[in-house]
Subunit: 177 residues, 2 copies
Amino acid sequence: MKKESIAIDMDGVVANVEVHFIDWYNEEYDANIIQDDLKGKSEDDAFPVPGIIKKYANTEGFFRTVPVMEGAVDAVKRLNESYEVYLVSAAMEFPRSLLEKRAWIEEHFPFIDWKHIVFCGDKSIVGTDYMIDDHTKNLDPFEGRKLLFDAFHNLEVSGYHRAGSWQEVLHFFEKES
Amino acid sequence: MKKESIAIDMDGVVANVEVHFIDWYNEEYDANIIQDDLKGKSEDDAFPVPGIIKKYANTEGFFRTVPVMEGAVDAVKRLNESYEVYLVSAAMEFPRSLLEKRAWIEEHFPFIDWKHIVFCGDKSIVGTDYMIDDHTKNLDPFEGRKLLFDAFHNLEVSGYHRAGSWQEVLHFFEKES
């Protein structure tokens, strides 16, 4: 039987960009922002200085050095045993990120073959069976089973299956199988 | 009504890599290969020197300077008026090509938004309504309507809707609408 497939988002799902944005911001502005400060805010209003997220996302080295989300490597490795796992990132907005993300995956997720990496713009062409993403705009047009990964900017949203950690993602798929 | 979507391959479909490989080969080896010499051969056996295609595909500047397939710009522009057009390339195999392909699209197909560019590995996750490709391995797992674009390496294959030029692609879609 053909394995079912999962499209897993990068930023905010396997890559902890939230912590990375905060670290870079605190360093540049000598500030003391913590994760709780961002909760419930939009990406545009996340930081006191406007445009921070786009600025850092366009800065060389940002995506290459982002820390891995806690538990992501082991969980993706486990899912990869039973599913066709694809890492799918809307990387096209930030061309600089393309090579950095490719190298980042090779470093942290070497068991994901290049054939299973997708860099796109909008994700409406993704035809996998499952999608794990922190953005409802990516999940909404998707026709398969959806899992919303908690992020500061999506905490107010309701009506989605949610996972607050990679442990919860594994629980979700245990119930599915 | 939601527009139908088309995934259009790059190499061998909108980008004339065949002519580009021949030009580079003739230049390097002082040879006189012409397109007829490649007909019916596989990509591996296309040139007297083995490994030429992978070598050039990994060479800086190759994808940035590939000529556009005759008629492709006008035809894609026309399709883009009635369909959601995506340029979808299996670029992940050659990381060096990622930025070059992104810049090439911006130069030759500036009307294709970054949201409609996809760089992937295998194309089995592509869930568009149509796919135009010169490789049967990409069309075979695809569940929508398929159009095989003629290339030297696919001339022996039968059982596909075919287009030998961008004019024929437009004819195909005129009959569809």
